[in-house]
Symmetry: D2
Subunit: 139 residues, 4 copies
């Protein structure tokens, strides 16, 4: 398993008149957490685009259990359960507040796509090599 943890401070803009973070903003929190997760491997999503690979989101699932509030310092846990095979990668997320209460859980599925041809492609080798060690099981 590959797991990382990212902190995000809730912006005023992200609240709505229910005094909580608008549900649509978790997609951004997941995006930030994914980007930081890849960065910890020593590569960035920006590098991937420079290599001609884009990663559109094809599926998102969220459960909103408790609300996040203005100025909360959230912790977003992000993990891959398995090494991606083929053109698909599946990120799992959990958002916690400072009291370590689980607020939101989510799953986001993305494809690896050639920017030019828009065809599905494999995960770039450089990313695969970075991820491999996290999924090596002794016999």
């Amino acid at each position: 398993m590959f797991e990382t943890s990212t902190q995000i401070r809730v912006r005023y803009a992200e609240t709505d008149q229910m005094n909580v973070v608008y549900y649509g903003n978790y997609a951004q929190y997941f995006e930030v957490a994914r980007a930081e997760s890849i960065r910890e491997l020593g590569i960035t999503y920006k590098d991937m685009e420079a290599m001609g690979i884009i990663m559109p989101v094809v599926e998102m699932h969220c459960k909103f259990l408790r609300s996040a509030q203005y100025d909360d310092l959230l912790t977003v846990k992000t993990w891959l359960k398995e090494l991606p095979a083929g053109h698909k990668i599946e990120f799992h997320h959990e958002v916690y507040n400072e009291k370590n209460k689980l607020l939101t859980s989510g799953k986001v599925i993305l494809y690896f796509i050639h920017a030019q041809t828009k065809e599905k492609t494999q995960m770039p080798l450089v990313l695969q090599e970075k991820l491999q060690p996290f999924f090596n099981h002794s016999s």
Copy 2:
């Protein structure tokens, strides 16, 4: 079944550097479509809040099949498969472009909550009475 259809023009702000609508913005499109859906019944979500009922989203599921682009005039179909019973309401959505291609499908589950006590409550009677006729089955 209760079904409505709402048109939304894609804003420049809603695109990202992949030249498509950012995946997180569909939550807003679904929100607009829900609000217009209720408005067609002769009541507004704003009225509901004035009555002391808030409706936080507790679950969202989306599949992104094709991308929406700047200035597209999207059609968001919104429907309730069944008359809500209890504190829960489940909206189904499909987003189509002008060529009638299905771009995104989604499901959003919300709770009816007392604004003051934050306790779960039933769907307000006024909404129930408006919705009932759409779910009357002969025999």
Copy 3:
């Protein structure tokens, strides 16, 4: 003078915990109003990009006098005081609520830029021809 008027319904996502539209969202309202303003001339901003012209914003000024609220049906008045000369166009905006109260006034300056070279350029002839009649003065 060339003047148009565009209606925008306030989304829940656009409110913040002050129960009003977040100040940063007026930039989007101005964008929508500009796009509709150009559309009324029979050309779209999308067409302009297809012609290889992009229009980045270089200046924005806003005064927030009264607040907009959820579900308000806003009217955004948009006008050009003068026919753009050179690479610059200056849009004026006023946002009114349904009681015809002025909420926000703003000015947005954009440049005409070649998408490829990123060099400043003139307003496209097609747009100039559409706008000219609004600025013809007798004697």
Copy 4:
């Protein structure tokens, strides 16, 4: 003078199809920078709201000189030229990229308002005491 510096990483959601940060998103960057600026004084904007003071923005002015791009680590400089007197506070901002190029400059004026009465009020004493030392001039 009171001056602080805040770093913000550009999110994918904040870009548009011009491959740069959408102009409307700088209002959020300024908000984050203001919040962090106050936090460095040992008080938060959240505390202020808890004390019954809200701070709506009444004016914003921005100049966009160069564009910010995805994943840029921006530095937002924030300063008060003078100790606020009366109900008004004026923040100045400059946004720099990692090459120390000035991208955007802005000014945001806010009022101190009683949350309950919506009347203008003075800057809270606690904030005044924190700020005073930065504006003490030796004769």
